[in-house]
């Protein structure tokens, strides 16, 4: 069947290599391969390892479809040189590995930081935080916070997490806050 067929399509040494480099198990890698090939048009499926799937196709995956951070996720994990956020199979595995159950909390918080850093400048400043809040409150106009509420919220967050009081949250402050949360590891998870 289809499942048995895909097992023979990944060469054994490559499978072993992927298992070592990522946090995924053999079953998870095979399933990821199957789902990735389904996103490719039929002609390209033979050369799945060198193909790149455009962002619009990746976003049709049910796991990412409803996620407010879908564009950021594609951007962070994509190694595309043209900047079109397309993903190769290895990028895809990378993403699944970070979001898997066995990934460590450090790795997860590092990537979460990169996902939340909308302007890619290495820190979470006010603008990043505002965009983050807007992502979380949904797309409707009534559900957005008023500017007074937004001000208050950002002020409270910086009060709590900005230890060195420079007005931005850097990686170590972020990891410090997030590592203490009991829910982070269980919510920052995507399973195919």
């Amino acid at each position: 069947g289809a499942m048995g067929g895909s097992a023979s399509l990944i060469p054994r040494d490559l499978l072993g290599e992927y298992q070592e480099l990522t946090f995924l198990s053999k079953q998870e890698i095979l399933l990821a391969y199957k789902r990735f090939s389904e996103l490719l048009p039929k002609e390209e499926r033979e050369s799945a390892f060198s193909a790149r799937v455009p962002k619009s196709h990746i976003l049709t995956l049910p796991e990412l479809r409803a996620n407010p951070f879908q564009h950021r996720i594609c951007h962070v994990f994509s190694t595309s040189e043209t900047g079109d956020d397309s993903m190769s199979f290895e990028d895809f595995l990378d993403m699944l590995s970070v979001f898997s159950d066995s990934a460590t909390s450090d790795i997860k918080s590092y990537y979460a930081f990169r996902i939340f850093d909308f302007d890619d400048d290495g820190t979470l400043d006010r603008k990043d935080l505002e965009q983050l809040v807007n992502c979380l409150t949904g797309q409707g106009e009534e559900s957005r916070l008023s500017s007074a509420e937004m001000e208050q919220l950002i002020h409270n967050i910086l009060e709590e997490s900005d230890i060195d009081r420079d007005g931005t949250i850097n990686l170590s402050e972020f990891q410090h806050v997030v590592s203490r949360s009991p829910d982070f590891a269980s919510s920052f998870k995507i399973v195919l």
Partner: protein
């Protein structure tokens, strides 16, 4: 015992007495856990008091005792270990210091794939942000302190009255059931037979709602109100359980005190009859002063002595079963029928049923966790007297899990305000530990102070249950072991040991406090260093 001991029917204590045999297999009797079920492995009374049984020379009474005590000890260890691990993960228990940041960074659930669920999540996150902002501003506002205080005192008073009332009701009902038992249960209908269990279950259903109403007087922040609510429900269940136990113990003591002179006589008669019966089994000589020829008496006909341990075990098993029934019926009526009503009658009703009064029932996380904890407390209390009670409970948990799974999927809506159980993780574990401690008190008390029944159970014939340990030490271990044990259990040695433990507790507590303070100091230093630069 089931594997290696003598089978059913071979010994008097394992057989249904002749008088009860007629009704032994009736469903009503079985449901009540008397009749055939009473004389089975389920209850304490079945177990024989022979020192070793079978060809493996398995020491049954010793193992019964050790398993009972050991399972309690193991439970203590597991609960404490989990609490310590939780405290460790918490990183020192900073419960509310990263409130807003956590809401920002960790509230989105990446496993959500369904757009409708995502919309719900967006709405709940928005509400949560807005509430948190408002609540933070309100905490700086001044209120009418006196009115609030008065209302809170009033609410606490009402809650105490409810608790006292329910305790009294249970006591009254247990007493009544003893009277019924004395007069013979055949004269009364279903209600009188099951009065105690039904009353306890009904109290468990209605009093929490009452507490909910009372708490609206108090005007607390929802998280604090939830804690008060849980604490009150906790006190309710505990009070009910303890009143029940005390009433039972009272009855046993009463019987022991008033019937003791008669029981001793009865004991002698029964023992005499039993020696005849045993002698007849082996065709040996009959003790002097008897002229009866050896007759083979069927075990069912041998007169039996009273057995309070089995009675206690029966009460617990009945309680568990009725609790299970109440849960199922509540789910079916309270959740399913309500959902059906709201869904289908909405078209022809004056107001919108789905948003208005009945609507769909919420899945009450904290209530369910509390129910699980109390169920476990009952099992801990009763398992010494009814050894197969944990097995019954496992079956009950399996079935109720599937039932509740289905009910949640089909008829429940999520709670409006979800105070995650994960944050108060140690709160629930602390309650579990407390309940474990309180549940094992009655069993330990009976092991140490009450003489076991002379005619049933693995400890019959001894003056105290724990004597099985000293007996084992005498017979099976070398003599120096017994001497060492004797020295070690000397109070003069134990008291200083306890003192040492208390002192080390104090020391560890002091060091942990100093570490916390050092942590805070370092944080402040970080801030001041940055400000300087």
């Amino acid at each position: 015992q089931a594997l290696m001991g003598k089978p059913y029917g071979s010994l008097p204590r394992k057989t249904v007495p002749r008088a009860e045999e007629a009704t032994a297999m009736n469903f009503a009797t079985l449901w009540d856990f008397s009749g055939f079920a009473q004389y089975s492995v389920l209850f304490y009374g079945y177990y024989n008091n022979q020192r070793t049984i079978g060809w493996l020379k398995f020491r049954m009474p010793l193992s019964y005792f050790l398993v009972g005590v050991g399972s309690i000890g193991y439970s203590f260890m597991i609960v404490t270990r989990t609490m310590a691990k939780n405290a460790n993960d918490d990183g020192g228990g900073d419960d509310t210091s990263f409130n807003f940041s956590w809401k920002m960074f960790t509230s989105w659930d990446y496993l959500i794939g369904n757009p409708e669920t995502a919309d719900n999540k967006f709405a709940s996150i928005t509400t949560s942000f807005k509430e948190a902002i408002v609540e933070e501003q309100e905490s700086r506002k001044e209120e009418n302190i006196h009115l609030t205080r008065f209302l809170r005192v009033l609410a606490n008073f009402l809650a105490l009255c409810t608790l006292a009332g329910s305790g009294y009701l249970i006591f009254f009902v247990v007493r009544r059931s003893q009277q019924f038992a004395l007069e013979g249960l055949e004269n009364y209908g279903w209600w009188e037979r099951n009065e105690v269990n039904t009353v306890m279950s009904l109290l468990g259903m209605f009093c929490p709602t009452l507490f909910d109403v009372i708490s609206s007087l108090e005007n607390y922040h929802p998280r604090i109100a939830l804690r008060w609510q849980l604490g009150r429900i906790f006190a309710l269940f505990l009070g009910n359980l303890y009143t029940f136990i005390i009433a039972l113990m009272d009855e046993i003591n009463l019987k022991a005190r008033y019937l003791l002179p008669f029981t001793l006589e009865e004991e002698k008669i029964v023992k005499y009859n039993m020696t005849i019966w045993e002698a007849s089994l082996y065709n040996g000589t009959i003790p002097e002063n008897s002229t009866a020829p050896p007759i083979h008496v069927d075990p069912a006909d041998v007169p039996r002595g009273p057995c309070w341990e089995t009675m206690v075990g029966q009460e617990f098993v009945r309680l568990t079963v009725s609790d299970m029934m109440t849960t199922y019926i509540t789910i079916l009526i309270g959740d399913f029928l309500r959902a059906v009503f709201v869904r289908f009658f909405n078209y022809c009703w004056c107001w919108d049923l789905e948003y208005g009064f009945p609507s769909y029932s919420e899945f009450d996380i904290s209530g369910n966790v509390l129910g699980l904890i109390f169920n476990q407390g009952m099992i801990w209390m009763g398992s010494f007297y009814a050894p197969c009670l944990p097995a019954i409970n496992v079956f009950r948990l399996h079935t109720s899990m599937y039932l509740q799974c289905w009910a949640v999927m089909c008829c429940n809506v999520p709670q409006e305000r979800v105070f995650k159980a994960s944050r108060s993780n140690n709160f629930y574990m602390a309650m579990l530990l407390f309940i474990l401690f309180l549940s094992t008190l009655p069993a330990v008390y009976t092991i140490v102070s009450i003489p076991p029944s002379f005619d049933c159970g693995p400890f019959s014939g001894k003056t105290r249950m724990y004597e099985v340990i000293s007996e084992t030490l005498e017979h099976d271990f070398p003599s120096w072991f017994g001497k060492v044990f004797g020295y070690a259990s000397n109070p003069g040695l134990i008291l200083p040991f306890i003192l040492l433990m208390v002192l080390s507790l104090y020391y560890l507590n002091a060091t942990s406090k100093s570490y916390k303070e050092a942590n805070l100091e370092l944080k402040k230093k970080l801030q001041s260093v940055r400000i300087k630069n």
